[in-house]
Amino acid sequence: MTGLAPIDGLAVLAILAKALDYGAALMAMGGVLFVAFFAGRADASVLRLARRLAIAAALIGLAVLALRFGIRAARISGMGFEGATDPMMLGFVWESPLGTAAIWRGLGWVAILAILIPRVGQWIALAGSLAVAVSFAQVGHTLGAPRAALAILLVLHLLAAAFWVGALAPLRRAALSPDGAGVLHHFGTVAAFAVAILILAGTALAYLLSGSLAALFGTAYGLGLLLKVAIVAALLGLAALNKVRFVPALRAEKPGAERTLRRSISWEMLAVVLNLLATATITSVTTPPVNL
C-alpha cells in the first residue's frame, strides 16, 4: 500500500488517543456553540447538559493533551514506553509544531471552562472554541502550501463538524422536553448550513491534499478518505431521516416518535465515533498523495 507507515502498538495507542482528542474537541466546541445558538430556545435542562458536556470534554482534552505528548515522545525515541517521560524527547516534541498546537489547544480548553461563568463566560468559551479549532491548523499537513487556504478550510470544517456533533447529546435530551420538537426543528434548519460548510470545506481539503481523483484509489490516504466519506454518507442519511421524518413525527406528537428519534441520534453518535477513529488513523499513519 502506498503511503502507509508501519503500525506498531505505540502507533495504535497514538491513534486511539488522537481519536479521543478529536472527540473531546468536537464535543467541547460543539457544546459551546449549542449554548450560543440555543440559549433562548432550549429547555434549561438541555442547556445545562450542553454546558456540562463542554466542561467534561475540555477536562478530558487537557488530560489527553498531556498523554499525547508522552506517546509522541515515546514514538520518536525508539525506546518504547520509557521514551514517554524522557526530558530530551519531550523537549523535541515541544519544539515541534505539536508544541505550538499544544499552546493554542491548552489555552482553548481552559477558556472553554469559562462557560461556567454567567454571561461573559459564554464569550470567553467561544473564543476558546476558536482557539481549539485553530490549534488543529498548527500541525500536520495543513502546514503545507497553500497554508492560509488549508488552515481556514480546516478551521471551518472543524467548527461545522463540532456544531453538529456537539449538538447530538443535547438534542437527544431535547426530544424528551416539552418544547423539544421546536428546538430540533430549528437545529435542522441551522444544521443544513453547517453540513454544507462541512462538506464543501472537507471536499476542498481533500482536493488540495490529494491532488487528483486517481490518487484516492491508489494510496492508503485515499482509501482511508473514501472510508470516511462512506461513514459521513451514512451519517447524512440518518440526519436527513431525522429532519424529514422523525422530527416532524415528534412535532405531530405521534406515539413512539421520541423513542425512534432518540435511537436514530444514538446511531449518529456511533457513526461519529467510527468517523473519528478513521480520521485519526488517516492523519497518523498515512501520507497525503501531494506529499508523496
Binding site: 503511503g3 507507515a5 520518536i76 525515541s77 467510527l274 478513521a278 508523496l292
Partner: protein, 114 residues
Amino acid sequence: MIRKTLLGLVVAMTPILSAAHSKSEATTPGDGATVSEVPELSMRFDDPMRIISVTLTAGGADIAIERETGMEPAEEFRAMPSEALAPGDYLFEWRGMASDGHPMQGSFSFTVTE
C-alpha cells in the same frame, strides 16, 4: 467489510507490515545492495529530519556505529561503523521526527561480501 477493516486496524494490536514510507531517501549503501566495504552509512532526506535513534544489526546482534550527525534536524545523516564490517547481512533502522512533527521511521538493508 468497512467496519471489519477499521476494527482490524484499531483492535488487532499486531503490527501490520507495509511498504516503507515513500518519502524515503537515498542511502549509502543502497537498500538491498551488495558491497565489499562500508566506509560510512548515510541517508538523504528532501526535508530536514531529526534522526533520534539508529541501530545497525547483523542477524539480530547490535553492531557499534558512531554518529557524525547529531540529533539536530538535517537533510543528510552520516554515521560510521566503529570497526570494519565483517561479511554478512546488515539491517540499519532509524526513528525520528519530520519537521512537521510527524514521528517517522525507516530502515534499509545491505550485504557485505569478502
